[in-house]
């Protein structure tokens, strides 16, 4: 059984208690991405600057990004590899 809260803030299933983050919700995820190609990283940089949000850059060309930033990279067709992400309560997915 699936139920939605008002305004679609979070979705919760009865079978497991996993809470899925919404795109702009206060409980949004942090995604860890890997962008191996330098040209792609340069494009990502431009896209991320335009999002006007902070982001993390980690050794090994990995990035800690918000859901909105990942969506911006997808829209700009920047190739990346998803390494991991947190779910809404901050636990590893």
């Amino acid at each position: 059984m699936k139920r939605s809260t008002s305004k679609g803030a979070v979705k919760k299933t009865a079978t497991n208690s996993k809470v899925e983050p919404t795109q702009n919700g206060i409980r949004a995820s942090i995604h860890l991405l890997h962008i191996p190609d330098r040209e792609a990283r340069k494009r990502a940089l431009q896209v991320l600057i335009d999002t006007n949000e902070m982001w993390l850059s980690l050794i090994g060309d990995k990035y800690g990004l918000s859901t909105a930033q990942v969506d911006a990279l997808r829209r700009a067709k920047v190739p990346f590899i998803c390494v991991s992400k947190t779910i809404a309560d901050g636990q590893a997915d």
């Binding site: 982001w55 850059s57 050794i59």
Partner: protein, 146 residues
């Protein structure tokens, strides 16, 4: 005349001792490098300073040196290039790169070297690098969340 930022030149001063031990409660120095990306003069003339290629080089070098960094949204500043000349009004766009480093003179030396290299490469009189002293807390695991 601006020239590309060289990863090799910046990496020369890298040293494991500048990294802050993040796994324990520790004093750290938080450096914010205001990387200038654009300058708009009083007459509306735009000048690109750090290019995307430069930003990517700097990001990579700082990640290698400190294992990671935060990049904040661009900030806009304005002022007089020559305080006595009112027509020298400029608008600047900077991208803040934030790094936690070990609170030692080695870290200061690293960032002084970085500042010199950036000033040379971007043809700027001064690149602002701020240093703040912070304490990184290390909380014990809260029993109710364990």
């Amino acid at each position: 005349m601006a020239k590309p930022i060289s990863a090799a030149a910046l990496a020369k001063f890298a040293n494991d001792d500048v990294r802050v031990p993040m796994d324990v409660g520790a004093l750290a120095w938080k450096y914010t490098i205001l990387v200038p990306v654009e300058e708009v003069s009083f007459t509306g003339e735009r000048r690109t300073l750090a290019t995307v290629d430069d930003l990517e080089t700097l990001r990579g070098v700082l990640c290698d040196s400190f294992l990671g960094l935060s990049i904040l949204p661009p900030i806009q500043g304005h002022g007089l290039r020559d305080p006595l000349n009112p027509t020298s009004l400029e608008i600047n766009k900077n991208i803040p790169f934030v790094v936690y480093a070990s609170p030692t003179s080695l870290s200061d030396k690293y960032f002084e070297h970085l500042q010199t290299e950036l000033q040379k490469c971007l043809d700027q009189g001064v690149i602002l690098i701020e240093r703040q002293e912070v304490f990184l807390l290390k909380a014990d695991v809260i029993p109710s969340l364990a």
